[in-house]
């Protein structure tokens, strides 16, 4: 007989749930791509171009080839065929850098690979890569920081297909701005930022003559498969991508990069498994970054604070060949009520590697600009910035002309203000002091898309009382392993510690990319469908298979609850457990498949789905030492229903920490002489460390958004970063009187402050 502990007594949905993969992560037994090892494994180290613009004149590998332990130096002449890949709409074959590695001798960015050394050990491969002599004809690289738009047509090709540069327009924004009683017209700049997940990117590639198998820390295993199948001219069934654990990505591991194809080609040429792990320097050069943005924002308002015009003209820089668009206008058209609006964008090509999405792509730099402008407008109007936002709260999505599925932004503001103590604010610059320091208070809001990608999953119920759920998505640190177990436990009553979750493998049912904060929202209906189908299968087994105590019943007579099958007429107490039923019928398992459609490609959506948040920030400013520190942050999130508040709170805190880095520390610097990212290490590219982290308080409103999925769960991976920097610059202005419009805030920016302690 089953014991009471064998089934979960209450649903784990919404309960603080320690991660099921936690014991592996804390003990070194969680296997990340570069942790795998195979017999005969060889090591590869790429050779990087040391110019950013020019041509490879000569490559001399003769010395490197003779070094002990070296198997081969591959370059354009001997790497073998690597084909070009293209976008396969709607959601496959995506790559920001589509030029196959070593395709020609033109160098377009610093660190572009010109060769690859393969040897028996990492040490031998590194020494050989260093011994390859490359000579170049050099042209001056263009890494100019002042962005001017290229002359491009109004519709241009991007990584994701053709897009109009006039992103959104309504009313007559120029006329309304010209006649507005109060105006803000400012340009905001965000620098190139590098994702810098602590896990270095890398690939282990194996080629057996037919099948290409790779271990890679991918945020999108199915997309990687579709790109590699094209690049190596293989049916996609002959490519398998495995990603068990990802040492985070923040976007840098979404789309494939050239090192992966190089590792695959080397494995093909040598017939041996090849491991290629990038150095931290390479992580700054060739696996994407958030591009520099330059945004002119114009706000026109009445004296009472009602917006009459909003214009955002933004630019991002990008590489010579690519099509990356940093969508800074993502939330502009719907965040505020304003009758006259225009969002327009352009791009500027530079001798840099391709940008790629970085956490909250577009919206994060975009909201820094628009929310900073709102804060400046509030200061001009001398009204509370919270009040200004309340005055301009829209009733519907005015960009699309459709209602919001679930929007509780005003409640975010109210709750955040209460928790922070905003009512005690003295708006006068430099007026608030504590312990010899000046306090600065600031706030900001943010929004981020919600929705679903298409997803499939399978659920098995097994005779030992355990369950297995499989989905070809990834857990990049957001807690997807645990969420899947929670969903299956909720449906089947199987306790969390008896649920096996399998992710990150293209041999599984196709799952969503780990991007856009959309995994949780996407997988809920597919996993529920799979679990329901497994239960339906179980009830059929109960009525048809010899050995079942329900042989004289029909499936309609039966019910399933808390892990037990029972006749409705007899009640749950007289039911039998799943394991009992399967053992009696001599079955190991029943299985169910599930799938759900995506929402993002809907031509005419009926509702506008987004998450919302606000941040209230306190900084301290010590004029004597020009020290600025972020003390505390209160964040309120309207992110739908939160499935695991323990991991959820952590996500938001982590995003706020990244926002502190964005506001105060992070900046990839390109050397104007040679185009190299010169601070390409973790001592020179500063990121927030433990001592930089403020005291953080996170609140979830927890309103289910059932337009997204039956549980009402939206994603929360990115929203927490959006708006943080604008709140910090507002707090900095409040403390110092210095308005910083180009990130990061530097000490030298603040030296002009006349505020004394």
């Amino acid at each position: 007989m089953p014991t009471i502990t064998e089934t979960a007594t209450t649903s784990p949905i919404g309960r603080q749930t320690p991660r099921i993969d936690g014991p592996f992560k804390v003990s070194g037994t969680a296997m990340y791509a570069s942790d795998f090892n195979f017999t005969g494994l060889l090591f590869a180290v790429p050779v990087e171009a040391t110019i950013a613009n020019g041509k490879l004149q000569k490559l001399d590998a003769s010395e490197a080839e003779k070094m002990p332990g070296v198997r081969a130096i591959f370059h354009r002449a001997n790497i073998g065929k690597i084909f070009r890949s293209v976008l396969q709409p709607p959601n496959s074959g995506i790559a920001d850098e589509r030029r196959p590695p070593l395709a020609d001798d033109v160098i377009r960015y610093y660190g572009q690979y010109v060769a690859i050394a393969v040897a028996d050990t990492f040490e031998a491969a590194k020494a050989a890569a260093d011994a390859v002599r490359a000579t170049y004809t050099k042209d001056k690289p263009n890494v100019n920081l002042d962005l001017q738009p290229e002359s491009e047509p109004e519709a241009v090709e991007t990584t994701h297909g053709r897009l109009k540069r006039l992103q959104s327009e309504r009313g007559d924004p120029d006329k309304a701005f010209a006649s507005a009683q109060v105006k803000v017209d400012q340009t905001y700049v965000t620098p190139a930022e590098t994702h810098n997940p602590i896990e270095l990117q890398g690939t282990i590639a194996m080629w057996d003559g037919q099948m290409l198998t790779i271990y890679e820390e991918s945020q999108a295993v199915f997309n990687l498969r579709s790109v590699l199948a094209q690049m190596f001219g293989l049916p996609k069934e002959n490519v398998r991508v495995i990603t068990k654990f990802v040492g985070s990505g923040f976007g840098s591991k979404l789309w494939p990069w050239t090192h992966c194809a190089l590792a695959c080609a080397a494995a093909r040429q040598l017939g041996k498994p090849v491991k290629l792990v990038l150095s931290r320097r390479m992580m700054f050069q060739s696996v994407g970054h958030r591009p520099r943005t330059q945004q002119r924002v114009r706000l026109g308002a009445t004296n009472e604070g009602k917006l009459v015009s909003l214009m955002q003209d933004y630019l991002n820089d990008l590489d010579i060949l690519g099509g990356y668009h940093e969508n800074c206008g993502e939330s502009t058209s719907y965040f505020y009520s304003v009758p006259n609006l225009r969002v327009h964008w352009g791009r500027t090509r530079r001798n840099i590697a391709s940008p790629t999405p970085m956490r909250g792509p577009g919206a994060v730099p975009g909201l820094f600009a628009t929310e900073s402008a709102m804060n400046e407008l509030a200061d001009q109007l001398k009204i509370d910035p919270v009040r200004l936002r309340e005055l301009n709260e829209p009733k519907i999505d005015e960009g699309k002309g459709i209602p919001f599925s679930s929007r509780h932004y005003l409640e975010c503001l109210q709750r955040g203000g209460e928790r922070f103590g905003w009512a005690n604010r003295n708006a006068e610059v430099g007026s608030m002091k504590r312990d010899g320091s000046i306090l600065g208070w600031g706030m900001s809001g943010a929004a981020w898309i919600a929705g679903r990608f298409p997803a499939q999953a399978s659920v098995e119920l097994r005779d030992d009382g355990s369950a297995r759920v499989a989905c070809g998505t990834q857990d990049i640190g957001t807690g997807t392993y645990t969420i899947l177990a929670q969903l299956v436990s909720d449906k089947t009553g199987v306790p969390l510690n008896k649920i096996e979750v399998v992710l990150g493998d293209t041999s599984l049912p196709p799952g969503p990319i780990s991007g856009g904060s959309l995994v949780t929202g996407s997988i809920v209906p597919a996993v529920f469908d799979a679990a329901d189908n497994a239960i339906t299968s179980l009830l059929t087994v109960a009525t048809t298979e010899p050995g079942s105590p329900f042989g004289n019943r029909t499936p309609d007579d039966l019910a399933f609850e808390a892990g037990r099958v029972f006749a409705k007429a007899d009640g749950l107490a007289k039911g039998v457990s799943v394991s009992d039923l399967l053992r009696r019928t001599n079955m190991r398992l029943v299985t169910g498949s599930g799938k759900s459609e995506g929402t993002l490609d809907e031509k005419k959506p009926k509702v506008s789905m987004h998450s919302y948040c606000c941040h209230f920030v306190e900084v301290t400013w010590q004029p004597a030492t020009a020290r600025l520190h972020v003390n505390r942050v209160v964040t309120v999130i309207d992110g739908g229903r939160i499935i695991n508040p323990l991991a959820g709170r952590n996500q938001i805190e982590g995003a706020v920490v990244m926002g502190v880095g964005m506001a105060l520390l992070e900046h990839t610097i390109y050397d104007p002489q040679n185009g190299a990212p010169i601070n390409s290490n973790l001592a020179d590219y500063l990121m927030a460390v433990n001592a930089d982290a403020p005291l953080m308080e996170v609140h979830f409103l927890d309103y289910p958004d059932t337009d997204v999925n039956p549980l009402g769960a939206r994603g929360i991976g990115e929203i927490g970063l959006a708006g943080v920097a604008a709140a910090i610059t507002a707090a900095t202005y409040h403390a110092t009187g210095v308005r910083v419009r180009e990130l990061p805030i530097r000490i030298e920016d603040l030296l002009t402050s006349s505020i004394l302690a």
Binding site: D21, V26, S27, M31, G69, E123, F245, V501, Q651, G654
Partner: protein, 191 residues
């Protein structure tokens, strides 16, 4: 957690066997290898390695103790933190051949699923990680911190843990986890 077995690494008991095999292959491949004896997690390993091999690469690629991670190879991130004679060290900055005769402890020697160290348990309970990649280094630092002269305040723990970067930003939970173990240890001492 039984459910995740398919995603977990090889059991620690098979490691010695695996490293011997890898060793034979390597000594054939690299004629400049030198003999090195390392004491790791209480086990003695006789190796032949390239003298350029860092302690981190030796642990990962030769002994297959992959819990120590490479994040920067420059001593800047802390993901490779191990203990050498009880003190925390960035193993990427150590040449393996220079640590013969020293007692080296890696995360695998601190605790394994089913027999976790209190700090490891606390990291799970407090969700003191996200992606988990820096986590083993964080835990090696946290375990060492327990016997370092650190004051009781959160601010001091934050300072002492600032050599370990967590790009996911789980810092607040890392501090909570460490403080929960320190406070319960103090309570036990007092009791």
């Amino acid at each position: 957690m039984a459910g995740l077995l398919t995603t977990a690494g090889p059991a620690i008991t098979t490691l010695a066997q695996r490293s011997e095999k890898a060793e034979q292959e390597l000594s054939a491949a690299t004629k400049d290898a030198i003999p090195v004896t390392l004491h790791v997690n209480g086990q003695k390993h006789n190796l032949r390695i390239d003298p350029r091999t860092t302690l981190l690469d030796c642990l990962r690629e030769h002994l297959h103790l992959t819990g120590s991670k490479k994040g920067c190879d420059h001593g800047q991130c802390g993901a490779c933190t191990v203990h050498v004679n009880g003190r925390r060290m960035n193993s990427c900055l150590c040449l393996a051949a220079m640590y013969q005769g020293d007692e080296i402890t890696t995360i695998e020697g601190v605790g394994q699923p089913g027999n976790l160290h209190p700090i490891q348990e606390a990291f799970v309970a407090h969700d003191a990680y996200q992606c988990g990649y820096c986590t083993c280094g964080q835990i090696m630092s946290a375990v060492a911190l327990l016997s370092e002269p650190v004051g009781p305040e959160d601010a001091e723990v934050k300072e002492f843990m600032s050599g370990n970067i967590c790009r996911c930003g789980a810092y607040q939970n890392i501090v909570e986890a460490i403080q929960s173990v320190r406070q319960s240890t103090n309570r036990q001492k007092a009791g």
